[in-house]
Symmetry: C2
Subunit: 336 residues, 2 copies
């Protein structure tokens, strides 16, 4: 908002936005209230005026509400029942409580339409901010909300087509350290297990793993690179097939905790002594009977840092969007 | 609400309640809005009048709200990062979504004051209903909310001093089957590991286990009955001490998943072949190197059944409060 030398700044109104954008007040209202039928070019003009004038829809709604109820923030993750996400949720809830704020949680189940629907519903109820692990192909549908003053922090994966605060894991370094560890132990036939490559973390980990394999001059073996493994059953089938091949891998790198469990299950059943390195720590990792090395990081810290960033934005911090990277550590977890 | 033969029923107002209770309108308002300074006897008179007249505070607030935002329910659990609770939360969120409702989640961390504060905050923001795993000594502080029309369903543990819907696990049957299984395998020195006995499920499981031990004429060995083990470290210390005794146990019954992990950790480290039966299933149970038998039940089903009950109440079901019991199954999980 611009200030003037003649007195206190006047808050821009919807009418100011309409004038600056050269559109009707009704069009501004529709953009501000997320009515989906607004023409994209018109919406773009309205949002440009919103940004230029520093118009904020929520000021009044928030002030009115604060007299009757306290604040809320929304958290959208993939699946609350996965320990990675429940650690993030627990840390975010803790931080929200310290800010006298309640946390609304919902799971996208890796479904982009569901993500969009849940986040726009949270916006409709005027949450003070959003923490999002994005699954959809892009998050441009949040642009109007962000321009109108609802801060959004992305966790684990960056948004597409938006500039906003993001907290990521150091995926590339973690994957590189996994491959370097296995190569240093003398492994040359290393199987790599990945979930869908539509997931940002999988792409990052996979390309860093492939680059590290190449740097170590490990011969390229396409049959040892398996992706699209989204369920335990997918993973078990893929690992069985690798072990049944003429030149089975002597080591596996599993790019997330679900893949690690699937691989462990097959190796145990088959009595295989292939080594496993798994991305993502889990509570019982140290109790596993099989040699197990983990690319570990602090998932609660991701939730905490993301929530703290969000509350700074809610309190008015308008500095440049930040990307915070949570480091990884390679840990030999198994007692086996 | 009573109907009259002369026309549509008139909804009782706060003034009607004040008249019936013989108190001022201000007193009614204070009770209805949870102001904590109201004299207990006065509050009791107001709530009696509320019940008799069928007064509902929320009717108007809900109708007003429904024009701008959609519905919310609150879920209070012990700790979102524990897989038992995150399974409940995931199922409740799923069910809420099917009812176009958002779920607010918070963790009590087994702290009664925190429970009370969080639940009353949720009530202040006029949630449509509450799902609660209670930790406090009693829940009488919710009585006014319930009488005023906010349905509450308790999960895993019944409330104290309230009559309302409750979903429980069949703790007694689960604990009995664990002891009978171990006795049938020939064990006579069975260690029992329990968390705080202030927790309902621990008391239920412990007394059923003790009764089963007595029925099986297993000699009473107080050094093998350990309770108050709330952390992994507590548990590991207790198990170490049992194993170091002159007559160590040949089997352990751990009354929850945290206790099972603590016991497994010590047995692995010591190379002990003592058998473990653990209450609560967990994802990696089948991968454990140690003989492991689990008292399993469907935690998601508890969340689902509780949320369905809650939405029936929100939709107006005024039938007698129910207690639903989720069955347990004994499963030999380990491949070891």
């Amino acid at each position: 908002m611009s200030t003037s030398s003649t007195g206190a700044p006047r808050r821009p109104t919807m009418a100011d936005v309409a004038r600056a954008a050269g559109v009707s007040l009704k069009t501004v209202s529709r953009v501000v209230n997320n009515v989906p039928t607004v023409d994209a070019a018109l919406a773009e003009r309205v949002l440009a005026a919103v940004t230029e004038l520093g118009f904020r829809r929520n000021d009044m709604a928030r002030n009115l509400r604060s007299r009757t109820t306290s604040a809320t923030v929304g958290l959208l993750i993939e699946d609350l029942a996965n320990p990675f996400y429940s650690a993030i949720a627990a840390a975010a809830a803790e931080c929200a409580l310290a800010h006298d704020t309640m946390l609304i949680t919902a799971s996208s189940e890796e479904d982009g339409d569901r993500e969009r629907r849940l986040l726009l519903e949270m916006c409709e109820r005027r949450v003070d901010g959003l923490l999002v692990v994005p699954a959809a192909a892009d998050q441009v549908y949040l642009r109007a909300e962000i321009d109108l003053g609802t801060p959004v922090v992305f966790l684990d994966r960056p948004p597409t087509n938006l500039r906003t605060d993001t907290v990521l894991i150091d995926n590339a370094r973690g994957a590189r350290s996994a491959i370097e560890y296995l190569v240093a132990k003398g492994h040359r036939r290393i199987g790599v297990l990945s979930d869908w490559l539509s997931i940002y973390t999988m792409r990052e980990r996979m390309s860093a793993a492939e680059a590290a394999l190449e740097r170590a001059r490990v011969p390229y073996r396409p049959d040892l690179i398996r992706y699209g493994l989204h369920t335990l059953a997918d993973t078990e089938t893929a690992v069985e097939a690798m072990l049944d091949s003429d030149e089975p891998p002597t080591a596996l790198f599993a790019l997330n905790n679900r893949l690690t469990l699937g691989a462990l299950s097959v190796l145990n059943r088959r009595g295989s002594d292939a080594v496993i390195v798994g991305f993502d720590d889990f509570e019982t990792a140290r109790l596993m009977p099989h040699p197990l090395t983990i690319i570990s990081y602090d998932a609660r810290e991701m939730g905490r840092v993301g929530a703290e960033l969000l509350f700074r934005r809610i309190a008015g911090d308008a500095s440049r969007p930040q990307t915070v990277v949570i480091p990884t550590t390679l840990i030999e977890r198994s007692t086996g």
